[in-house]
């Protein structure tokens, strides 16, 4: 039976080496999670700029997930470290202006964490689902 409930749309920027592989592993291990994520493969979480996150929200994403290698595991040595600062500040600023904190999420998922990936996907989806569709920064006309 398919459940008929509102399915949020979440843009997920996943680094190629850890989190995208972790998402693959979730599939290989058949861990099930809601069909809400739209995964965009990026080389590194360090590739994800504040502009990109805002663009996803502007385009109508109900939530955004950025996921990279655990600190210290970055395939590119330190990309995730820069990402951590950038995204921490962005997250804080977005919350400051009243964007619900649950809309923008950052996680670390390694290539061996298929289960964790599914759990993060579930957690993010359910939190966003509870908020309802995004309104604040969505461009529409």
């Amino acid at each position: 039976m398919e459940t008929k409930k509102w399915e949020p749309r979440i843009v997920a920027f996943l680094c190629n080496w850890c989190s995208y592989a972790g998402a693959d592993l979730a599939g290989v291990s058949r861990y099930q999670y809601p069909p809400s994520l739209r995964i965009i493969r990026v080389p590194c979480s360090g590739r994800v700029s504040a502009n990109m996150v805002l663009d996803a929200l502007k385009s109508g994403a109900d939530g955004v997930l950025v996921s990279g290698c655990h600190p210290g595991d970055c395939h590119y040595i330190s990309g995730n470290m820069y990402a951590r600062r950038r995204l921490a500040l962005l997250k804080s600023l977005l919350e400051f202006i009243g964007i619900e904190p649950e809309r923008f999420n950052v996680s670390w998922i390694s290539a061996s964490e298929g289960k964790q990936f599914a759990e993060v996907a579930r957690e993010v989806t359910e939190k966003v689902r509870a908020l309802g569709p995004a309104r604040h920064l969505v461009k529409d006309f």
Binding site: G60, D140, F141
Partner: protein
């Protein structure tokens, strides 16, 4: 022209009657620093009586920011994909109540450039202007330098003049007469009233410094000597190239057009542009004929004070003083005007 007399209460009733068929806007106190701005009103008591001009000019009603010109979809596959559909907004007519004469003039001046623009003209059609004369001039007012008057009627449908107890309403156009009739309760003004208004007008005009024939003088000057005058460099040095002056100017009407596409829904919008911005004249090649700040600053003034008069007659400035008031670095168009008039 028909002249009426109306009490304060009567004016309030006008507004209330008009709201049945019009959206009525008036200057409303927006925040604690005493500045007023345009907002929809339902009665006279909402309207600010502070002297001077509103924060924003009334061009926001004629050149909305943004104005959708066309819509389209770009989904591909569908028959109407990528086909532009015109969206001329013929919305509800509206009355702007409490327009200062300088602002009202801007509609006429801008209309010289926009007379063939259906979007602009549709807005002119649907917008009725009820002006109010200026009894007090501000430190930044200079309408009498550029062909205006604190009692000017150009562009207005009705001009209100506040007398000691009442208002005198000059219905300047047929639209103005119908508005008065729609408002109801007005009596025709007496000869006494007319005489009083005339003396008030003279008093107010004489209180302001005036510079006659500015446009004629500027038109008669040599363009290249103005262009090459050496004060531009010093003037532009303090400019930060923001758009505060142009965006708050009632007669700056430049725009850019861009397509916005969201989730394959698209629209072509017109939005304000400013000659102060480096991108203003940038070519697709990357070349920019006005790449330097000095060129842009010069263009702003030359356009208002030379190119526009040369083409249309009057200067493209109504002397409202907003640019002087709001410039973060105190660039004062009156100094530029004096300098230009002094160019030999």
């Amino acid at each position: 022209m028909k002249v009426y007399k109306i009490s304060r209460e009567g004016l309030d009733k006008w507004i209330k009657h008009w709201t049945e068929s019009y959206d009525v806007f008036g200057p409303v106190e927006k925040n604690e620093n005493g500045m007023t701005d345009w907002a929809e009103v339902k009665g006279l008591d909402e309207i600010s009586t502070a002297p001077g001009t509103t924060k924003q000019p009334i061009k926001t009603f004629y050149l909305p920011q943004p104005e959708t010109l066309f819509t389209f979809t770009s989904r591909g596959g569908e028959p109407d994909s990528d086909v532009l559909k015109e969206t001329l907004d013929e919305g509800r007519p509206r009355v702007l109540f409490g327009v200062r004469p300088c602002d009202a003039r801007s509609v006429t001046l801008n209309g010289l450039a926009y007379e063939e623009d259906p979007y602009y003209m549709a807005n002119v059609e649907r917008t009725l202007l009820v002006g109010v004369s200026c009894r007090e001039q501000c430190g930044t007012c200079f309408c009498r330098w550029v062909g205006g008057s604190p009692f000017g009627t150009e562009g207005l449908d009705i001009l209100l003049i506040e007398t000691e107890q009442n208002f005198v309403a000059e219905a300047l156009t047929d639209r103005g007469v119908s508005l008065v009739e729609a408002g109801g309760g007005a009596r025709e003004a007496s000869g006494e009233d007319l005489a009083m208004v005339e003396s008030m007008r003279q008093e107010a005009e004489q209180a302001m410094s005036a510079m006659p024939d500015t446009a004629e003088t500027l038109r008669s000057k040599d363009l290249m000597s103005m262009y090459n005058a050496d004060f531009w460099g010093g003037l532009s040095e303090s400019c930060i190239n923001c758009g505060a002056c142009t965006f708050l100017c009632p007669t700056c009407y430049c725009f850019d057009i861009q397509d916005e596409v969201v989730r394959k829904k698209g629209r072509r919008i017109r939005y304000w542009d400013s000659c102060m911005f480096p991108l203003f004249t940038q070519h697709a090649s990357g070349h920019n004929p006005r790449g330097q700040k000095v060129q842009r600053v010069r263009n702003r003034f030359m356009h208002k004070l030379k190119y526009f008069p040369d083409r249309f007659g009057p200067v493209s400035c109504v002397g409202c003083g907003r640019c002087i008031r709001e410039c973060p670095v105190n660039i004062d168009i009156r100094e530029v005007l004096r300098d230009l008039l002094g160019v030999e």
